[in-house]
Amino acid sequence: MMATFNIKGLKKNYGRTEILKGIDLSVAEGEFVSLLGPSGSGKTTILRCIAGLERPDAGELTMGRDKLSSQTDFVPPEKRQLGMVFQNYAVWPHMTVFENVAFPFRVNRLERKSPTEISRLVRAALDLVRLKPYELRYPHELSGGQQQRVALARALAMSPRALLLDEPLSNLDAVLREELGAEIRRLQQELKLTTILVTHDRREALSLSDRIIVLEGGKIEAEGSPESLYQNPPTAFVASFISGGQTMQVRGASRTLLPRRWRVATGAVGESKIVSRIYLGNEYEYWAENPDYAEKIRFFAPEKIEIGKSVALEYEA
């Protein structure tokens, strides 16, 4: 049974520090939602409250019809039927790949399964993450990416009501990150699994999610589809964090400008002087000085422009 999460007025303090200042959010069945924000924004705390690894100080958390946490109720993590993948893999070093994935079945007293049934389920989960040939290996005999696949298989094997991902890709190198990210998305869509991803990487959130919730200082700053947040950021913070936007003083007024909305007017000589250029493979990133703007303008263009040259820049509002 998949789940819909509803969170109302979630608060959490560590000592005197307010980590979550009253979070309201919901996640629909089969939806892939990313909690995106800088360090200390409270995204991991929300995930850990959902998992039951933290007890909220206030607020209510429901999954489907079940109340997971409120002032009076608290369902312990082992009873929530949630799969979770951790940043540091959390693959038990003294168990083989097979034993790691079989663990949830072996400790679940409510739904006892026969060894044959467990083997079938474990192998199916390993097959999903393409690790079947590695089932007898120990974690130290696997690469980081393979270990994270084991963690994913373990989380998926017990057919969880939802999948929680706590920065699962941040310890991997760039190539593996893209590969495993795509695989997570494929599995989530195949299994139609409600998934919540915690990340501080906007590219990860943009490429994987159905919806992004941006957090800042323990509060929700904005939420929406990746496209809407990227193209029309509702606040300066979202613009800066997701679209790399710049908030600048333009003729006495404060404006948020997105680098991808600048266009170089072909053939025209303007007042923006190129001061810096970085080659990104399929395009260039530029920084230009313009007397109308207090700070340097950041923009992207496919063509190579010499440093020191002045160009005319147009902003598409």
Partner: protein
């Protein structure tokens, strides 16, 4: 996952009980100090002499330990060679073998009358008395200082030395200007630790100091009880108070050295490098020569004499010297194992109650860590309690336990083996608790969380995840505790009773009866057992524990 308020109250009560139980003997003894007797004791000339003997021998011994340890540790930390593990074991042997065995070996080798090595090399300034005490303290505790320095020197990024070298510094200058300042907090720490161990030692003063009337404070405590019985308690308590007062500042220095060590922590980033090189050149030749000479005289030659004296007819070596080596036999072992009436109870005491105490210590440590898992302050306060108890001189603990467990508080274990078990637990809890705590800390919290999310209860998580991962620490912790218990004498000598004897107390008696051959045979059996246990520890923990 936070605990409920009932859980927190339970943890508080448990931590409080641990504090009270473990520190009760110390408090009991110190509370027994009579002001008048204390004043009288402090004014006696014998006290001043004993205090001076204690301070001079412990201080000079720890200074020498640190000097040699620094010299050896540098080469071990920076260089790698083929037989390094064996060389390291050679260096650590005086730490592994009980102090009374080492003292017995020295007596057989260099006692002024019949010492077997006297005709080859005389012991400088005579074995018995102050000089002998200093040398034996230095030799027996040098490996502890070595372990501290080796660890610290290993952590120094090799680029710091390379930069000094490129600046024109030679090996000696690099050692003096780079290595030494970086390990300076550890030097204070090692000095304090060796000093604390020296002033609390009983076997070495009993074997080496007492024959020349060079009495240390710990020996004076023993004497007070021996001569005065229960009437000697107030005087023994006064000596105990002074001994305890001498240990406390060393604990403070240790704590400061630990903090200072953190300040000098040079390896924390991933980028730092520690390069281990092949040794070469004249300095390597000098090191090999110094290493061989030191260990030959420090323990190899005396221990060889100890071994030799067990293979010849009893008393022959003392009467006829090394000429007896033509009549090798195992009769002494036969006598000790089959004919000496006290052997059976001594072996039972050491090899039944020793492992039993180690097991109880391990189980209690584990139960406490399971209870306190989510309460850092409870772990820290227990750790501090165990550290304080382990730093307390054995004589103080033993006398304190006699007072607490003699029926005054409803429990009477006096004159039973269980009071010795209690003493081992108070003194050695720290040895098991610390590695287990460190092992538990090194397990990522997410491993536990993943298990809970998979449906495992708290107890199941312990049984299936934490205990299997902690297995090396559990095995290693058991042996780490067992080895010092097997070689314990300071507390046993006070707590010995018709129901409890140990190999240590039997050796002490044999020494008194001047039966050196039997003492030597028992010593060799004990050394063999300890070395075997060490090897087992290394193998069972894949080299993570043991030496």
């Amino acid at each position: 996952m936070k605990r409920s308020s009932v859980g927190r109250a339970w943890i508080f009560v448990a931590a409080l009980v641990i504090g009270v139980v473990f520190l009760a003997p110390i408090v009991a003894l110190l509370s027994r100090v009579d002001n008048v007797v204390l004043q009288e004791t402090l004014q006696k000339k014998t006290f001043t002499t004993s205090l001076m003997t204690t301070l001079v021998t412990a201080g000079a011994g720890s200074g020498l330990s640190v000097f040699f340890a620094l010299f050896f540790a540098r080469t071990f930390a920076l260089y790698s060679w083929r037989a390094k593990r064996v060389a390291r074991l050679v260096l650590l042997i005086p730490f592994l073998i009980p102090n009374f065995v080492l003292a017995t070996a020295y007596v057989i080798a260099w006692n002024p009358g019949t010492g077997l090595l006297n005709s080859f090399v005389k012991f400088p300034f005579g074995l018995y008395g102050t000089w002998g005490l200093i040398v034996l303290f230095a030799v027996s505790h040098m490996p502890i200082a070595f372990l501290i320095f080796e660890d610290r020197l290993r952590r120094i990024d090799s680029s710091l030395r390379e930069a000094a070298r490129l600046s024109g510094a030679g090996a000696i200058r690099i050692f003096l200007k780079i290595d030494l300042p970086l390990v300076s907090p550890s030097i204070w720490g090692a000095l304090a630790l060796c000093f604390a161990l020296n002033i609390a030692a009983f076997a070495i003063p009993a074997w080496i100091g007492a024959p020349e009337r060079a009495y240390t404070l710990s020996y004076r405590i023993y004497q007070s009880i021996q001569l005065g019985g229960l009437d000697g308690f107030p005087q023994a308590a006064s000596y105990g108070l002074v001994l305890f007062a001498l240990v406390l500042p060393t604990l403070l220095i240790l704590a400061l050295a630990h903090r200072g060590g953190k300040k000098y922590e040079t390896i924390s980033a991933k980028a730092s490098r520690v390069r281990v090189e092949e040794p070469q050149g004249r300095s390597w030749v000098f090191f090999q020569f110094a290493f061989a000479t030191y260990h030959l005289f420090a323990w190899l030659a005396p221990l060889s004499m100890l071994f030799a004296s067990t293979l010849v007819p009893r008393g022959c070596l003392q009467a006829n010297g090394l000429a007896c080596l033509s009549e090798l036999n195992f009769l002494t072992y036969r006598y000790v194992l089959l004919e000496l009436p006290e052997t059976h109870s001594a072996l039972t005491g050491t090899f039944i109650y020793g492992p039993l105490s180690a097991l109880l210590i391990l189980v209690l440590s584990l139960l406490l860590l399971m209870t306190f898992r989510e309460s850092k302050w409870a772990v820290r306060s227990s750790e501090l309690t165990f550290l304080l108890a382990s730093s307390t001189p054995g004589a103080v603990i033993a006398l304190g336990l006699i007072m607490v467990l003699s029926g005054r508080f409803g429990i009477n274990l006096y004159n039973t083996a269980w009071i010795v078990v209690a003493a081992f637990m108070v003194k050695h809890m720290n040895l098991a608790f610390q590695p287990l705590r460190a092992g538990l800390d090194s397990i990522s919290g997410s491993l536990v969380e993943a298990a809970r999310l998979s449906g495992a209860s708290r107890s199941e998580t312990w049984r299936r995840i934490l205990l299997p991962i902690l297995r090396p620490e559990l095995i290693g912790g058991f042996f780490l505790v067992l080895v010092p218990i097997l070689g314990e004498l300071t507390m046993s000598v006070f707590l010995v009773s018709p129901q409890y004897h140990s190999v240590g107390t039997l050796l002490f008696d044999l020494q008194d009866y001047a039966d050196q051959s039997s003492a030597a045979a028992l010593s060799i059996l004990l050394v063999g057992t300890v070395l075997l246990l060490n090897e087992l520890t290394v193998r069972l923990t894949n080299g993570r524990l043991g030496y």
